[in-house]
Symmetry: C2
Subunit: 190 residues, 2 copies
DNA sequence: TCCATTTCTTGAAGTACTTCAAGTTTTTTA
DNA sequence: TAAAAAACTTGAAGTACTTCAAGAAATGGA
């Protein structure tokens, strides 16, 4: 427990044993059952969340009452509502375990303190965020340039294992089309 | 020149005069004429770019030969292709001055060195990236939940001054609809 | 100040999706 | 291991856009 986060950090920067200990002392380990919520619409996202095992997603419920998935996260990814974290306004989103999962939570107050006490963490998060944003720029490119069917096939090719792990209706909304349309694409009826 | 970047950094972390000097020695100041390109599809984005004055955009040319704007940047924003920067693969994008602009360029090699020599810069970029990503999460929310007309009105309300500065057809593609549809929305014909 | 270029507008026709409703299959739980 | 819940499928009807083509208006450069 917490091994995977330390490893992930160690791949980008080296923490001393003391720094590791300091970090670990602020981390809350949590098991989430499938479908369990880590964040609900209306509450403030006052933490960073690292996924050790399993799969989580961030979603919202739209005007028509349907869920739309904005992000997925699996092992070694961080998942949170950055806007709510930064402004401390209530979140528009839910964060939910898609599978039984194990996550590490760092409360905002602790994290902000840790970043001051362990400047190497700044480097770690800078690198993580830079990669995350790079991936998001590409995602927007795909959303802008590909048809629904193209997005499905592209995602399927790029992350075949991942596609097995999540229900199709969640993937459909992540790719920004309806679950029914996903069915038709898969059946080759398009 | 370069004052605005130092100020921007100083709002988030304090650099010593020596650190400031070190940073400035690696910065290339560039004036861009309206329409001038800073990055072209096919070349590697091997720099970070800070906008001191003016307005730039990142766009691509799609299958049909149309430009689609993925990002805008104005004073005090960074604009680049993070994926190309990180992988050093050729970019899919163009970065272009929308107005006559003044930008600061930090070449990748220099920046990576600076980040090691001046750890406080890690903090600065971590904060910048965190804000940028927060804004992008909201943008995806808007793209997913709002109609074209709603996106237009929302953007207009949120950034009225900015809307004056860019041609409508660029804004239309940024909001992910056609220039013609933008015209119809504005004319109230929808 | 005039010509060229860029940007914006309009309407008509087409299309890539969505929505709805109902039924089927798969998975989970007791 | 049966019942309940969740996930997937199908077809028909609707709609929010796009595309095309042509012209009008605004802007920029010599």
């Amino acid at each position: 427990m917490s091994e995977s986060l330390l490893k992930h950090i160690q791949r980008k920067t080296e923490l001393t044993p003391l720094e590791q200990e300091k970090l670990l002392s602020k981390i809350e380990y949590r098991k989430l059952k499938k479908k369990e919520l880590l964040l609900e619409e209306g509450s403030v996202c006052d933490f960073f969340c690292f996924i050790e095992k399993g799969c989580c997603r961030m979603y919202l419920i739209n005007d028509k009452g349907n869920e739309q998935t904005l992000q997925f996260g699996i092992e070694d990814w961080w998942i949170m509502d950055y806007m709510s974290y930064s402004t401390e306004n209530p979140s528009d989103f839910y964060i939910q375990a898609v599978e039984n999962s194990e996550v590490l939570i760092i409360p905002k107050n602790d994290l902000e303190q840790l970043l001051i006490e362990i400047p190497k963490l700044e480097r770690y998060f800078r690198i993580v965020l830079q990669k995350t944003f790079a991936a998001t720029q590409m995602r927007i490119k795909f959303l802008f340039t590909m048809s629904a069917e193209e997005r499905y096939h592209h995602f399927n090719n790029a992350f075949p294992v991942f596609v097995q792990r999540v229900p199709q209706y969640m993937l459909a909304s992540y790719l920004d089309f309806s679950a029914e349309f996903m069915s038709k694409i898969r059946a080759g009826k398009i």
